[in-house]
Symmetry: D2
Subunit: 148 residues, 4 copies
Amino acid sequence: MWKAPELDFEQMVKNKMEGNHFMHDIGFQIHTIESGLIEGDLELKPRHLQQMGFVHGGVTATIADIVAGFAAFTLVKHGQGVVTVDLRISYLNPGKSDKLFAKGYVIKAGQKLFFCESELWTMNNDAKILIAKSSATMAVVNTEDIKR
Amino acid sequence: MWKAPELDFEQMVKNKMEGNHFMHDIGFQIHTIESGLIEGDLELKPRHLQQMGFVHGGVTATIADIVAGFAAFTLVKHGQGVVTVDLRISYLNPGKSDKLFAKGYVIKAGQKLFFCESELWTMNNDAKILIAKSSATMAVVNTEDIKR
Amino acid sequence: MWKAPELDFEQMVKNKMEGNHFMHDIGFQIHTIESGLIEGDLELKPRHLQQMGFVHGGVTATIADIVAGFAAFTLVKHGQGVVTVDLRISYLNPGKSDKLFAKGYVIKAGQKLFFCESELWTMNNDAKILIAKSSATMAVVNTEDIKR
Amino acid sequence: MWKAPELDFEQMVKNKMEGNHFMHDIGFQIHTIESGLIEGDLELKPRHLQQMGFVHGGVTATIADIVAGFAAFTLVKHGQGVVTVDLRISYLNPGKSDKLFAKGYVIKAGQKLFFCESELWTMNNDAKILIAKSSATMAVVNTEDIKR
């Protein structure tokens, strides 16, 4: 069956994202889908915070995982997906803002494994404050194998 | 002012938890608070899942962070708290169940840094399935410094 | 060709170790080879130290990698080996002693990936001092693929 | 006592390196010392390899730790040093070459903690092959405290 690749690519990622319930639940919005790169942002609400008023490390980790995973997903073959094998996140600065920005990108695309990184930051008067840097290892899976 | 230590300890941790909005938001319940050990569980709902129907890696990371952080918090001095410096999580098995169990514990308590681990598992007919193992490095902070 | 499995197992691991030049170069000795478990020790010499007189973090990381990797290797099929995908090590206490002990073990054995942990410690008057805890993700490879 | 800062800086790092026995033992040479950046290389010898003929993951981890640690050291105050708290290394490609290049740099310099990254690569006909990417968390220590 013929498929227009230029339509397929971004749409395929968007279709995949639709089923990512937890991403929608926390309110993360993706606005850039390129080959090996995903960018998005999150409007920070009180529900996203921990007891000191900073963004919860779990929110940060969730977004780091999402942008890395979908960045890898943009590069796998049709019928393949990725699952996170390992995620490491370093919390560089406390996140105190009304908006969180995130970027995930692939640093090595392999047949079986993808290595990705994520950056999360806030903006303070045009100054970018990096609040977290993350690296993730993703395993390529055949979607059919997962469904069985 | 005099304080009954046995009352103070568990209550102090519970007070701290009250402000942890994201923990309450996802629905994680803590049922065991001991010195250097935290245990709890999460009723898995559709909102916690990713597109393959497994628990989202961000949910897992969030809980790993929470139980490790509060396990460290049980051991710091009055007026101190902890913030996560680094969180590393390995996803061992896909989480497919209606309940997720978690345990966080301290493996090294230092003056400035705590090293903790977390385990997350599901139960399948009395068989424990480890879905994630995590290690976290926490920095001790003076609560007053954070507020300023 | 017939092979006595009980002979094959430990001998196969020992054969593999023979080619591990860097392990021999630093002087690490393995004394226990069990299914999913490797133990050994290192006589600490001045060459193993950093500028503060503690064991160099690179020595610690090397040993953490070796014991984890060979622990995984005890569980793969004939004709398979493992390569390290990710190694994460937490330095819990400074290593100051004349001998370093190490243990590596498998926490999840998969078809494609193994998750392992390592512990390194010194002994101080019968007290075990944990100096590092490590987790490693290993990928199963077919030895034939590597040679090509 | 008066000190010429421009002389002090590079010389201070070099003095520190002199005592790093394991770095000299494996033969790693540093050729660039800048503020927050260290670069160097290693002539690969058979002693640095594992059983498949690739550079041993322990050699890679050692160099990743060294360049990250000294990159942090270039930015601490006089009388301070750094110790590695956590090291994570991802092995992206097998290292098969006669020379290994490395770079370590600081991504966040704090009062108590430094976050650094390292990259290790080989050159194959002018093509850079990234064999490892590493992130490290370093704790600032007062050299006097360590000596006591």
